[in-house]
Amino acid sequence: MSGNLHISQSCLIETNKAILNGKVVFDEPDLNAGDFLLALYKHLPINYPKFYKMDKQCKLGFLAGELLFNDADVFKEYAKDEIAIVLYNANASLEADRNYYKTVDEMASPALFLYTLPNILIGELCIRHGIKGETIFFVEEKFDAASMIDYVNLLLEQNIAKACLCGWVDFLDNDYKACLLWVEKDKNGEMFSKEIIDKLYNQYYG
């Protein structure tokens, strides 16, 4: 069925650039990863204090979501339980796990423990955008567009969801990448195909 599925919007955040629908919207080449995420947050017209509490992976995915959904009309035609989220990465929550583990010898930190699961990011996105549909977070060695197409197809074909936020969000050490796609049925946009998804995923490298 992926023939009627289209990518209405796409967002890539990688190597200190944020790209929305193919256009660079933010570029700060001289910052480390953490400072880049903070600079991007401050660049956006939002005030969301909970951002400061998030681990870096959640900050990364949250910001990609903000860019993608900066226009509230994007998903107003759907009930909140008709929107699914399907995310992938390679390092689960290893960055947060390590930071939490450093605290265990003295006083284990509940604030850090909170982020020691990758699907916490999905929770943050659901809270922010009010999404209540089906969600899942896969951990795979590398990005596999075919696997994502299969799963999103299943959700939309069986009417488990009518639209889907899907993609890759991974942060470890100073290395990070978020590539989020907003996928709908019978809409304008690029085809939800392996070729297009791979092109969007790798667009930073031309």
């Binding site: 204090p49 951002f51 509490k53 509940p110 604030a111």
Partner: protein
């Protein structure tokens, strides 16, 4: 109050915030700094570790943790002598 803000930033891992960005009377929870029940736990630990101050009851927490100023006043009034 500046020191308390520095300690809260460290305890709650809010490293992207500066003490100057936290108002003395800004609400710490919900629409203010966005803290939640997990953070309340961290604040209780902070009071005990840094100031040897224990909350008399859970109900008291709501008033004590309203803002930096209310926390500072509680610490001043309840810190053991010496």
């Amino acid at each position: 109050m500046h020191d308390l803000k520095v300690q809260i930033i460290a305890q709650l891992n809010l490293q992207d915030l500066t003490p100057e960005e936290i108002g003395d009377d800004q609400p710490l929870f919900a629409e203010g700094l966005g803290l939640d029940s997990i953070d309340a736990l961290e604040l209780i630990v902070l009071l005990q570790q840094q100031y040897k101050v224990k909350l008399a009851s859970a109900e008291e927490g709501q008033a004590v943790f309203r803002s930096i100023r209310t926390m500072a006043e509680y610490i001043t009034n309840h810190q053991p002598a010496g």
